[in-house]
Amino acid sequence: MANEATTRERILEACYACIARHGFARTTVEDVAREAGLSRATLYRAFPGGRDDLLRETVVWEMGRFFGRLAEAVAGAPDFATLVEEGLRYARAAILEHEVLQTVLVTEPEMLLPLMTVQTERPLRFVVGYLEPFLEREQRAGRLRPGVEVADAAEYTGRLLLSLIGSPGRWDLTDPSEVRLLVREQLLAPVLTPEALAAT
């Protein structure tokens, strides 16, 4: 017997499939219900806010999956600076290879972008929450710059990471030596001691 969590997951997967196929504007609750093999009533019970609620939750869900894959990819990193370097390279490549994202950025950016940023803080909270334990480890090892609090460092690093993977600017994030320079001379210079930054 399907429980609420699996029904919700099934609906989100179906909505994502509809967006991938037709884009945001043409994805209706009816389409999603049909794709999921569920009734509209079931959909509205799971997403009382209707279509807007469903679309936003689908974007958040996919971002969660994206960051989950990212976390797996960097799981073995020996220290915070290496974690950040590997995370940047992986995340930037993954964004460029994300077909649905790249398509929607061209065809309907005004529909997607508010759902990723203004309407939810969850992706940022996820990244910040993920970084905190690693920063705590650095703090215990005496590798945080004096006066830097873990919470502030996590918030700062999270925001800058999201900025960099979306808009790398002049940096070539496919080049490991550029990423190393970016992370150790610029991004983490406010956070880690010079010794921690220099270590391989």
Partner: protein, 200 residues
């Protein structure tokens, strides 16, 4: 000699009227008729200068951007060491952005209109343009090869705090000063170059 003041040109009046309408009604609801009326010109006159809404908006944005870049540059030019210069430039940037009424309206009420110009490839374009506000001043204090990345770093800090949730933060001068000292300066230059005075 007495100061000579010239009346604003028709083009200037149209651009000022555009910004006033945008600040009040937003992008979607501002019409060319509104702007013409506000500027006190005939619609046909408006069309002579700006063939349509897109052209008018682009010109208004470009004019405001140029004005802000000049203000940021002027703030940096007056400073005598690197830290004071960056603090002055970031405070000016924060002040200009938080007081740009049309931008604030859009961020608050119609983010979908502006986010494509601030995120992903739009973010890259913003960084390239905004870097120009910081580069000339940084060139007085830093080795030439460091300037482009340092300027982009400052521009990225500005971009990061442009989110609606951050607007209350950057309106506070003391907060900006602390942010610059804690997070911007360390990422601009290695410790050794940090207390540089002007190269001359």
């Amino acid at each position: 000699m007495a100061a000579v003041t010239t009346a604003p040109s028709t083009e200037q009046r149209l651009l000022e009227a555009t910004l006033a309408c945008l600040a009040r009604h937003g992008i979607a609801k501002t019409t060319l008729d509104d702007v013409a009326r506000k500027a006190g010109v005939a619609r046909a006159t408006l069309y002579r200068y700006f063939p349509g809404k897109q052209a008018l908006l682009a010109a208004a944005v470009a004019t405001e951007a140029a004005r802000m870049v000049a203000a940021i540059d002027a703030a940096g030019a007056a400073a005598e060491d690197l830290e004071d210069a960056v603090v002055a430039m970031m405070r000016t940037a924060a002040h200009e952005l938080s007081h740009q009424a049309a931008l604030q309206f859009a961020l608050a009420h119609e983010p979908e209109q502006v986010l494509p110009y601030l995120a992903f490839s739009g973010g890259d374009a913003f960084l390239a343009a905004a870097s120009g506000a910081f580069a000339p001043t940084l060139a007085r204090f830093l080795p030439a090869e460091r300037v482009p990345r340092a300027a982009e770093w400052c521009a990225r800090m500005v971009l990061t705090v442009l989110e609606p949730s951050e607007q209350a933060l950057i309106a506070d001068d003391a907060v900006v000063r602390d942010m610059v000292r804690e997070f911007v300066i360390p990422g601009l230059v290695p410790e050794s170059l940090r207390t540089v005075h002007s190269k001359g």
